[in-house]
Symmetry: C2
Subunit: 650 residues, 2 copies
């Protein structure tokens, strides 16, 4: 008997408030359909049903969902479901609540902020390293052949190039660039424009008819786990001429497959997962490239190169390399440096000649983003010792000066990006970013990003909360709620003791926003990991925190934190305020300067090679320091004299 | 109104005696259909309707053909047509006569012959330059990572490689080889086999699970205008171990598009022509590769590299480069050297890792085949001056010693390969290759290739004929038939005076085989061009023929010529017999040694760079020498004292 296959029925799923409808088949997972539809739903755990964050509401139609502890009975009755635990069994209308959405507006703000900071640094660095882009462009009049001198077209071009630039006759003219060249050369009457990739083996990437008045451009991209930021850069231009022509950023579309690198690595291990993650991050970059070109009115063909920087996992996924062993002991990446290739080889929508470079990294958890930032920071030109910190999902830290560099990654956990915190969220509109607690009334005062009704707490808010609860005596130095300070805001919740920041009526999510003892413990672990990492690096360098000349805080998160509060809670060392520097997106900055200055790019390579990576996992010294730091501000109060004074005076 | 397109009717064309049928549409050209069907029809002019050689016979069905002077009325009535001037208008059965076919058997013979010669040279060269293949293979046990040493997989491999080979840590590991590497490495338990391309920028071309007992191989290919010859080579192996494991050769399938480089260049200029020519030469090489692998029982994946050598036009077509300007003054090629690429980039059917190298050339008419041969000949290691000659369609000549090299190409014309000669043919079975003429009776004695019934005259036969006719007094020193020596074999034909070598009844083509005064003039021009070229090089070197230490004759043609007769007609200088050396397919030999010895390949590069090309076209000195050589053996009889003595004694 022949069994006839029938086409599965096709349903329509409508997402609100964005109002986008897509077809779907019975049994398809809702989170994956949202992803296909370009509807971003926050799924910290990558759809594993663990984080409980991908909350949606069925406002029409039907959905097959499994129960989950994070969705209460009343909520379930009201149509609340987890997208990752829901599959299609008919047409449906799905509301994506604010708390589950990702929003780009906050990203734009942070990019603009770092631009302002970057201008002066850029000028100084280009003065030092020269404005010689990674891909040079030369307008050449190639001497015409005659019977006395009829060496090949290729040799004539190499000769003309050698007389105009420092790249010598050893430059490679690849077969792909040669094809069609004889006609192109003669059609252009021997006046041509040649692009030459100047890093490593010098190579001609493009030869076109001469366009001596045309500028050429580069694109710098920082591929972060959460966000991708890109800038369009002018390669030509004299002193003082603008480098950054346009900036853009967006959430990394991989977010829908997991919020942190570990979730991504696990997803990449699934069938087709690596390919999918590669596609979506490349599509994110392609979107930004399109925006940059549109904004500046620049032609795609005039982009001579792209420089990317990112953490080691992001680079693996971007280049299509399996990241599995980054996650497994002994944490060996496939590679920390990727040789130049054509952009098309990874799927970037550029001209075929556009060359792709990346800033090299050091280890599985100290990537090219950190190298890029360290090179940009200037710490490797100083005699004094600096500490470079990038506190995101992992806290990456680098210690050193012009002579030596130590680096490490403290698996801090994603607390400061909202992970593992009941009402944690990224710094999106509505996120609580500043908190003050009245020491007398113990009532909070909160500020949110974009001054919207609150929907969660972002990293800087968490730092404020811990410091303020500690200073007000609501919690003790163990991070537990104190029995001494009584207030109606401290109560027993479903996850143990908690402090209510906002009551449901004040919020945008119709639930009380609280901070629990479990949250506090997670934050404590995070800050302890970062501080312990710094301590280990200092001990390895034979130094103490007091010896630090400069503490450089990189990353978007750095911008918004209150240094004073971060010291109180023991995340940052207690040092005079003037020793702290904020660099914003230093990874993008390093990629930017690399693109327009190969001297700087080469320096970044030297920085990567000269960093000594200290592995902190299973490191006994780190465990000791970590335990010592699991106290507010620290077990050793002598390192925080001013904070201790304030605590004694409370 | 909408005009409806109808499908053109499809006809079947059957070729005999090979008995192969193919579909064809009305209006399609018969020569092109034969090509598609893999039926080789001799078409010297590339289907331009000039040479009249692509004779076929319609033995059934119908064909639309235009008239051509080379097909007589009786022949036309008997169904004889020119394939290039015929198009399809119905089903047809086509007989391809012997004279129009190309036959591989003679090629196999010549390849075998040069193998025998090559053994001793190979051993000597490998002793001098070392047996270090262009792509090295290393079996590595990569140290496993642990928490103290967890640098990336890529860095571990580079480190392990540096400790085992001379390639250092600077070797490039391309992104395409990295993909999937982490799993492969661990599946193989860190025992891997790495292929490293050692020329130019060192690059890893493949990493596989370790196979320490497996040998690896290379393929050398000589891409000639007429024939393509290839050998399978063992890369590993100690002293005295066999290098050549299998040899094969075939006619270059481009033959159907024109017999000489000029016809090919013209065809390449047609719409789609370049692509077609590239496809067919690559398919020829692919056929040979398949044969070599089958014969030796070697797996495709174990071929680590391919080295090709060929004239500049052949290299342009093989790499897909427009050859147009090779043909037009001032004869500027697009390139004379092509950087290493993956074989797949030109369409070779090899494993994706197999790397392609080519021996560099000098100019439009002195290509990598000549450089390959000169490097192999040893002339660049000698103090004495040698003259290297490769007489094919063009006579390429190189003069020099360890200190200097001059080269030139004399556009000799294709007479010695059968072109421009009424009954000229390549050295296929049935070609007249040796001729003696009885001085008393003036009757000829002939020998054919394979001792078949004669169907034409090949190059060595033509040399014999001219020398013998001269010595017998049938022709004078101008190459004209003498009125003094009467014989029935000299008569007036449709192309002027002619000498009958075979009457129709003795031949396989049912026509008299003759040599005409026009033929004689063509041969005279050819030999004069070669001799004049040599004279110009010698003058530029301040030398005379008598100063030559060695005359090296390369190419398949060299094997079969009778030096004594070639001296009598003035093609070769009158020097003692022991100064002449025959090298057979020196181009293939140089490619072969390059494949297994990168020291030799680098030497070939130095040879190419050190050759000074003398352009002979529009060269006044050359024209003077050419006119002086348009005499048998030469205007200046003092250069040929022995020949002059023989002529006086006749």
């Amino acid at each position: 008997m022949v069994s006839l296959k029938t086409m599965p029925p096709e349903y329509r799923i409508r997402f609100l408030p964005i109002d986008r409808s897509v077809p779907a088949e019975a049994g398809e997972n809702l989170l994956e359909i949202a992803m296909k539809a370009g509807v971003h739903i926050n799924a910290s755990c990558g759809g594993r049903g663990v984080c409980g964050k991908c909350r949606v509401r069925v406002s029409g139609g039907t959905l097959a969902s499994s129960l989950h502890p994070s969705v209460g009975d009343n909520e379930y009755a009201a149509g609340v479901r987890l997208a990752c635990a829901s599959s299609i069994n008919g047409d449906a209308e799905i509301e994506v609540p604010l708390e589950s959405q990702v929003d780009r507006s906050v990203l734009r703000r942070s990019t603009v902020m770092s631009d302002v900071d970057a201008g002066a640094i850029d000028e100084a660095l280009l003065g030092e390293y020269g404005r010689e882009p990674l891909v040079e462009r030369h307008d050449l009049e190639v001497p015409r052949p005659d019977i006395q001198d009829n060496v090949s077209d290729a040799a004539r071009i190499a000769r003309a190039l050698a007389s105009r630039s420092g790249c010598g006759e050893s430059v490679v003219l690849p077969v792909r660039v040669m094809r069609g060249l004889a006609t192109r050369l003669r059609d252009a009457d021997w006046n041509i424009t040649v692009n030459v990739a100047m890093s490593g083996q010098k190579e001609i990437t493009a030869i076109t008819g001469g366009r001596p008045d045309k500028a050429h451009y580069a694109i710098a991209v920082d591929i972060g786990t959460t966000t991708v930021a890109a800038q369009l850069l002018a390669c030509d231009g004299g002193e003082g001429k603008r480098i950054v022509l346009a900036s853009s950023s967006d959430y990394n579309r991989q977010i829908s497959f997991g919020e942190d690198v570990i979730s991504r690595i696990m997803y990449a291990g699934k069938r087709g997962g690596l390919r999918k993650l590669q596609e979506v991050v490349v599509s994110t970059v392609n979107l930004l490239i399109g925006e940059l070109l549109g904004e500046a009115g620049v032609h795609r063909a005039d982009i001579s190169h792209v420089v990317v920087a990112g953490n080691t996992t992001m680079m693996h996924l971007f280049y299509g390399m399996e990241p599995k062993y980054i996650m497994l002991a002994p944490y060996t990446p496939l590679a920390t440096a990727f040789p130049p290739i054509g952009c098309g080889e990874v799927g970037l929508e550029t001209a075929s000649h556009t060359h792709l470079f990346s800033v090299p990294g050091v280890s599985s958890y100290v990537g090219g983003d950190i190298v890029s930032g360290v090179a940009l920071s200037g710490m490797t030109e100083r005699d004094g010792v600096s500490l470079f910190m990038d506190i995101g999902t992992n806290g990456e830290i680098v210690l050193g000066n012009r002579q030596w560099l130590l680096c490490a990654s403290c698996s801090a956990g994603p607390a400061f990006e909202g992970g593992g915190i009941q009402f944690g969220t990224r710094a999106a509109p509505g996120a609580i970013e500043k908190v003050r607690i009245n020491p007398a009334t113990l009532e909070p005062m909160i500020l949110t990003v974009g001054r919207k009704k609150p929907l969660g707490i972002c990293g800087s808010g968490l730092i404020d909360i811990v410091a303020e609860l500690l200073l007000a005596g609501v919690i003790d130095r163990n991070g537990k709620f104190s029995a001494e300070r009584k207030t109606k805001r401290v109560r027993d919740g479903s996850n143990g003791r908690e402090y209510v920041l906002c009551f449901a009526s004040e919020t945008n999510i119709e639930r009380d926003i609280v901070i629990t003892e479990i949250d506090l413990d997670n934050i404590l672990r995070t800050k302890a990991a970062v501080y312990a990492g710094c301590s280990v690096l200092l001990e390895n360098g034979g130094l103490a925190f007091g010896d630090l000349d400069m503490v450089i805080i990189a990353g978007g998160f750095g911008h918004s934190i209150d240094v004073e509060k971060a010291i109180v809670m023991g995340l940052l060392p207690e040092l005079p305020a003037e020793r702290f520097r904020f660099m914003g997106n230093a990874s993008l900055g390093g990629a930017r300067i690399s693109a327009v200055s190969r001297g700087f790019f080469e320096k970044a390579g030297r920085v990567a090679r000269s960093m000594t990576n200290i592995e902190l996992s299973n490191n006994a010294q780190f465990m000791d320091e970590f335990m010592a730091a699991m106290f507010l501000p620290h077990t050793d109060g002598r390192a925080f004299p001013e904070t201790m004074k304030a605590l004694e005076n409370r």
